[in-house]
Amino acid sequence: MKNGIFGIINIGSSAIRMQISEFKNSKERILESIVTPVALGLDTFEKGYISLEKAKETAQILSKFAKKLDEYKIWGNYKAICTSAVRDAQNKYFFINYINAKTQLDIEIIEETHEMYIKYLGIMHDIKNFDKLSQEGLLLAYLSSGSLSLSIKAGDVDLFNSVFNSGSLRQYLLFKDINSSIRFKAYEEQMGKIISTLKQNCNELSKIKHMVGCGSSINLLVKVLKPKSNKITYKALNTLYKSIKSSEPQAISQMYSISLNDANIIVPIVCSFSYLLKMLNLDGFLFSNATFPNQLMNYYSKSFKEKSVNKKILNQVVAYSKKYNNDLKHAKKVLHFANRLYNQLKNIHSMSQKEKMILDCACVLHDVGYYIGVNNHHQHSYYIAKSINIPGIDKEIIDYVAASVLFHRNKAKIESEDELLSAPIEKILVLKKIIALLKIADALDASHMQIIEDIDIEVSENQVKITAIALKIPFLEELTFKNKSTDFLETFGIEPKLYIKLKHE
């Protein structure tokens, strides 16, 4: 990580926040932290768009923030990120363009899953024994003004990830015309719906032993409940809920000395967390009160590090593929062959670690499309791969993986797919290399029966000799190899030849 000063601007649903930090020898010192309330979410969640008035107000605030960038001379060292209030606005592009014209700031909309990933990394660094909790089964609940993101982890994999449009502000706006004495019932119905979705999509809820909460809602909860440690108990939450659920916001505001805006959203916040705890049958949850700007800061300044990311991604993808009744024996065999090819042919293919990871994922996913239909399963596999939303796997990787699985069959030809024709030649080359290896690996287990146990690879001047050690004569494999190895020749300019050696001869 570099030493230096970094700036983060976060345009949220109810406030715009800025943080400026100095990093020296991996230590962070926060120089400034500014919060200016502006309720963009009010516009987006109610009207669907951001009014010009709000855009103007935002531009004024951001002009001041921009001056800070001048002051610290960090125009080359900042990130400005917007979340759901802008992401969900119909006129988001106008908004971004408008802000840029008025302030010169380049602002980015962060994708939902990426946002979840950054928050996840933040929590991972903030909560003690995170790995252990996560191994034992953990629900991460990120509740902000705009959305409620839920992520369930057990062992090494994610069992569930989804973002619901049920942020505290959004819920309040949705039901604000219902009398405040019974409004809580609407919040309860809303949570009931989310919980039934969870139950429908994740049948291992009973495995979950812990819950961690995070997001802008936590600060408000802490302010009201004043917990002694970083744990909020179900008991405390429930007592609070009973006392506020039917109260007028004015009364809540006075009772807990919080603003009226906060008083409006505290009921859905308490309702959300207590419903989740009740579903999991837990006595409380741990929380991280690291703010999102703080997490962004650590992410973009690269002080977050996750170990063995590639391996984790592969595990996630394997778990994901199970839902589609993936033939894991076949997938793992193909993966094994692909690894052999990758390792033995390094001099020829010069592929990076990242490209290897794409190859790995493609090996796992190439046949998942069978679940949708036997005909054109490669297209279905493509569709399924394209729809992956696992925090931590970015879109570029998904695009490569999806394209690779699409082309694993001879039926699909790179030249004929419009989407890729426009891709730069370097990208196409990366893809061609991956596909060439994938097709050979797949051919070597064409019957899905693991007749070929292992392979040896020798490279000579004019051919790559692959010796397959087989349990019996692999008719289908030989045939398929013949058909599928042309990509290899066309990509690397050297012909792969298959020789069979029977194991028991």
Partner: protein, 505 residues
């Protein structure tokens, strides 16, 4: 889940040998392996009268691959049947005996009538022919099996010698064929057909690999994607194809787009058989789908072990039970789907006059109600898009491809933005169809909104229609905050299509 058996079906035909492995489920099955090799046993049998040594070797080699595949999938029930080629081969007994000795597989040689029955079962499973007079024909290499049914009941079945390989060997001995031989073949076909019942036929459903190949050629000639499961081919195309092929050499036929090389010589006879039938019954086209005999055998085998299909056991019609099967495959919330369907039915009945919809339009709405949420299986976010993909890529019994696409489009619009110019798949429909889609989607949106919490709280609906207003009263004994919110948020499309203000209370 109880263990349902894995079933392997081997179909030894005159043209090809095929294996289909299926995982049986409670009320359906899922194909997990499809293997095919074009062996053309018929070539040998119909010219020599027996299966010669070389062909037999090839046959056993394929049986070995098939046997391996079966073992790999741990199939517990194996059913192998031989049709015309084995029926006619003098040495069939030897082949059956050797197969049993070498692989432990019993081959049943089935009669033409049995073949016709299995094929009919498959048609019944895939098409809604309960209200019509239908002719189903399976054109194989050695014979054609014909079934005539009235309102879903089998009335008569025939086994004829109109197999395309057989016809080729008997008549088309030269390349290109002599014109007199083509006339002789035509006479033979027409004479054979004179034995059929002369009744009014509404629909022809034809199966067999060669006919499917003709359908693919037709789709390609129209630049349509040939990916759909069931296809329709107009008679005019078959006529023009005959005129083209009758003067062509086989090597030139192979070059036509979509032609399977190994079938190039038998496409002409197949065309002439189906054209003669369309002529005989004065029908302007035929439907075709893949794997008639195999599907029928599978159903029959499942019946024999006591598993039956919804179309055989339930009173509700076939379409509906297939919809439920499809929903189950993608883990849908059945109570929600049924509740939405029920509410949509009530809305439809009370709104159909105002919307100028006909009773038969409800079938599309019903399918969309059952399937609108299946996309959540792929991912919760943007699930309406996923529902669209899954529906367009699944087999919907009894609906034409156009209707299936309409159902997918209606499901797409169950949430999110209203139909507009950017929805290309929507724009591809005619104005009349677009109109219908909008109206049906308008009803679906409200019905879905009225079960927002997925708890089936709304039990009844009363609609009153005035000059400028539509009032919808939802009757429930529970709190329905969510339902009211959601239905009101989704009434926009109904307001748009009726031009009236809609209020939901």
């Amino acid at each position: 889940m109880p263990d349902y058996p894995i079933i392997a079906i081997i179909d030894i035909g005159s043209n090809s040998i095929r294996l289909q492995v299926a995982q049986s489920l409670e009320k359906s099955y899922r194909i997990i392996q499809d293997y095919r090799e074009i062996l053309r046993l018929g070539d040998c049998v119909f010219s020599k009268g027996y299966i010669d040594g070389q062909t037999a070797d090839l046959f056993y080699k394929n049986m070995e691959v098939i046997n391996n595949l079966i073992q790999n999938h741990k199939a517990t029930i194996i059913r192998a049947v031989g049709t015309a080629a084995l029926r006619d081969a003098q040495n069939a007994y030897e082949i059956v005996k050797t197969t049993k000795e070498r692989f432990g597989i019993d081959i049943e040689i089935i009669s033409g009538k049995e073949e016709a029955y299995y094929n009919f079962l498959a048609v019944l499973y895939n098409f809604d022919i309960k209200n019509m007079n239908a002719l189903t024909i399976d054109i194989g290499g050695g014979s054609s099996e014909i079934v005539i049914s009235q309102k879903g009941e089998l009335v008569d079945s025939y086994s004829t010698l109109l197999g395309c390989t057989r016809l080729k060997h008997e008549f088309l001995k030269k390349d290109p064929p002599s014109q007199s031989s083509i006339y002789a073949m035509k006479d033979f076909i027409e004479e054979t057909l004179q034995n059929l019942d002369d009744i009014n036929i509404d629909t022809i459903v034809a199966t067999g690999g060669t006919l499917n190949n003709i359908a693919i050629m037709y789709y390609m000639s129209q630049n349509k994607k040939a990916t759909s499961y069931a296809k329709y081919v107009p008679r005019s195309y078959v006529k023009s194809l005959i005129n083209t092929l009758r003067r062509m050499k086989i090597d030139d036929i192979k070059k036509i787009k979509g032609v399977e090389e190994k079938r190039a010589d038998i496409i002409l006879p197949a065309c002439m058989v189906i054209e003669s039938i369309m002529n005989f019954y004065n029908v302007e086209g035929f439907y075709t789908f893949m794997g008639g005999l195999r599907t029928g055998l599978l159903i029959d085998t499942l019946n024999k072990i006591g598993l039956s299909f919804p179309f055989q056991t339930l009173d509700s019609d076939l379409k509906f039970s297939r919809l439920i099967e499809l929903g189950n495959k993608f883990n849908f919330e059945e109570p929600h789907a049924l509740c939405v369907n029920d509410l949509a039915k009530k809305l439809f009945e009370q709104l159909k006059q105002t919307l100028t919809l006909q009773d038969k339009d409800f079938a599309l709405l019903e399918a969309a109600c059952i399937l609108h949420d299946i996309g959540t299986y792929i991912s919760f976010s943007k699930h309406h898009m996923h529902s669209y993909y899954l529906i367009t890529n699944s087999d919907l019994t009894g609906f034409s491809i156009k209707q299936k696409n309409m159902i997918a489009t209606i499901s797409y619009f169950h949430r999110g933005s209203l139909p507009n110019k950017s929805h290309k798949f929507y724009q591809s429909f005619s104005k009349k169809k677009k109109d219908k889609i909008k109206k049906l989607a308008a009803i679906l949106r409200i019905a879905d909104g009225l079960d927002r919490s997925h708890r089936s709280f709304v039990k009844d609906i009363k609609v009153s229609i005035e000059k400028d207003n539509i009032k919808i009263v939802a009757i429930s004994s529970e709190d329905t905050f969510l339902e009211m919110k959601a239905a009101n948020a989704k009434k926009n499309l109904l307001e748009k299509v009726t031009g009236k203000k809609v209020s939901i209370i």
